[in-house]
């Protein structure tokens, strides 16, 4: 069983997509390297760290984008952002079940500063516009670098998010918070604390990701396909429901300091055991608690 966490972008696509169906758009031979990195005398990549293309996933026609976390921490620069934005716009003229974004990113590529920020903004706009057009955009998060920065906002703009326990999803990374307010505010080297705050299990229990899967590419595939089949609608009803949900969350949990406090409030009698629970056990308990 292949680990999603250990695989690179191309290996993830290989394991996720129906064999022989993937056609890469702007492949490495197109040599879309970042001029900004070259200007800084930094190594660049032929695909600028993202693989995009058309494919089938469990028989569904999809457009896919997979970020390569190993390159620049998956951070988004001008070229990478344009590849994603163009792909999202392509979906509106194609007969696809949806778009799949394999996200592994620290957010804006700081080495491209302004160009990177604008690139991420264009991705966010494109996700929203594509969803308004009724096309689902599914994000998968389960790699070493997590999904942070402006791309954490982009992920939360998607129709649904599939995460593994290993994944992390947030806005500001722990290191940035520690730099701003010190180790007492957020000890970025306390891995357990980091995962209680932004890790896959916490995000699932909070409701910020829809599905929690094991760290296996086939588990991601099934969950992504299922999410695509559920369709999408970004409209006034949806944002009004979302608003009520988020307001209730802040009212209910706003005074808490730690993920464990939230899990206890949700009904886990031994929240300190949550990190030890297997994925399916956690999901089962969570569903029972939500039904109650």
């Amino acid at each position: 069983m292949q680990s999603y966490y250990e695989a690179n972008a191309r290996e993830r696509l290989d394991g996720l997509l129906d064999p022989g169906t993937f056609r890469e758009i702007l492949p490495p031979v197109a040599r879309t390297l970042s001029p900004h990195l070259q200007a800084l005398d930094l190594p660049a990549a032929f695909d600028d760290g993202i693989v995009i293309g058309t494919a089938k996933l469990e028989g569904l026609a999809v457009l896919v984008a997979a970020q390569e976390g190993g390159f620049m921490g998956g951070a988004v620069g001008e070229v990478q952002g344009a590849k994603i934005t163009g792909l999202l716009e392509r979906a509106r003229n194609a007969e696809v079940a949806g778009i799949v974004l394999l996200l592994e990113t620290g957010g804006v590529r700081l080495q491209e500063a302004n160009a990177g920020l604008i690139a991420v903004s264009e991705v966010i706009r494109a996700i929203c516009a594509t969803r308004v057009a009724g096309i689902p955009v599914i994000a998968a998060i389960g790699g070493q670098y997590g999904c942070f920065g402006g791309m954490g906002i982009a992920a939360a703009c998607c129709t649904g998010i599939v995460m593994s326990e290993e994944g992390r999803l947030g806005l500001s990374g722990p290191e940035v918070i520690e730099t701003a307010h010190g180790v007492e505010e957020f000890d970025s080297r306390d891995r357990a604390l980091v995962w209680r705050t932004v890790g896959g299990k916490h995000r699932f229990l909070l409701g910020d990701c829809d599905v929690l899967v094991d760290d296996r590419i086939d588990a991601f595939r099934r969950a992504i396909a299922q999410a695509l089949r559920e369709g999408d609608r970004l409209d006034l009803d949806a944002v009004e429901r979302e608003h009520a949900l988020l307001q209730r969350r802040v009212d209910r949990f706003g005074g808490y300091d730690d993920g464990a406090d939230i899990w206890r409030d949700l009904g886990f009698p031994d929240p300190e055991n949550v990190p030890l629970l297997a994925t399916d056990a956690l999901v089962a308990i969570s569903q029972r608690l939500r039904a109650a």
């Binding site: 604008i118 308004v132 701003a180 970004l234 608003h243």
Partner: protein, 232 residues
């Protein structure tokens, strides 16, 4: 510039904009048009509460004033950098604000943005950068991240980043650089009300920033790469 001055200059015919802490809310008249005004002041750090407060105002506008144009007044030091806000899902609250703007747009509301002091990262992505058109006052600055945090993340010396911020349009925080890159439509000086009136009339219906960036020579690859990703 202070938010009192900005609103006075945008709405010489009168406005009812108030500050509730860091949140700016209200309406302003420009010609025959009433604008919903939503924004932040005092270099606000945007945490979950402020993001939701702004989203609430967008939703209220959609519900009670269909079609009314919205203008975001932006002065933010970026997202609140606290563990508690991450715990509660600040990324999702920001995304919610962005989605509310998109829904407003889809229902015929024009959305404009004006950076009147500073704008950083997350706070800006969910507001001004979601607008149909975003402008800035000439002295305003737009940043991705503070230099010390950038230095830590990129493992570059702060001095080197500070030098780049002085010399390179890609790194320099002055809003003029964002004009060249297409993300800021123009710097507004003088008659702000006239600029506002023109903006609401001329704002594009789709995201044209990369085409503008290419035409102005500040961002040359985004448009052609996105086109190729779309058609190849």
């Amino acid at each position: 510039m202070d938010w009192h001055d900005v609103t006075a200059r945008l709405f010489p015919e009168g406005h009812h904009v108030v500050a509730d802490g860091d949140l700016l809310a209200g309406t302003g008249r420009c010609g025959d048009t009433t604008f919903a005004v939503i924004g932040s002041a005092h270099h606000a750090e945007i945490g979950v509460e402020l993001a939701l407060a702004m989203a609430r105002l967008v939703l209220a506008t959609i519900r009670t004033h269909p079609g009314r144009p919205i203008v975001f007044l932006v002065d933010t030091a970026g997202q609140r950098l606290r563990r508690r806000d991450e715990l509660l899902g600040l990324n999702r609250c920001m995304a919610h604000l962005a989605k509310c703007v998109e829904v407003a747009r889809s229902r015929g509301h024009r959305v404009l943005g004006l950076v009147y002091d500073q704008a950083l990262s997350g706070g800006f992505l969910a507001t001004g950068m979601m607008a149909d058109l975003c402008a800035a006052l000439p002295e305003s600055e737009i940043r991705v991240m503070n230099l010390s945090a950038m230095a830590r993340v990129t493992r570059q010396p702060v001095e080197r980043l500070a030098e780049l911020a002085r010399s390179s349009p890609v790194f320099a925080p002055g809003a003029i650089n964002y004009v060249k890159m297409g993300a800021i439509d123009a710097l507004w000086e003088g008659d702000l009300a006239a600029h506002l009136a023109a903006a609401v009339a001329d704002a594009p219906a789709t995201d044209t920033r990369r085409d503008v960036g290419q035409a102005r020579g500040g961002r040359l690859l985004a448009a052609p790469i996105a086109l190729r990703a779309n058609v190849e």
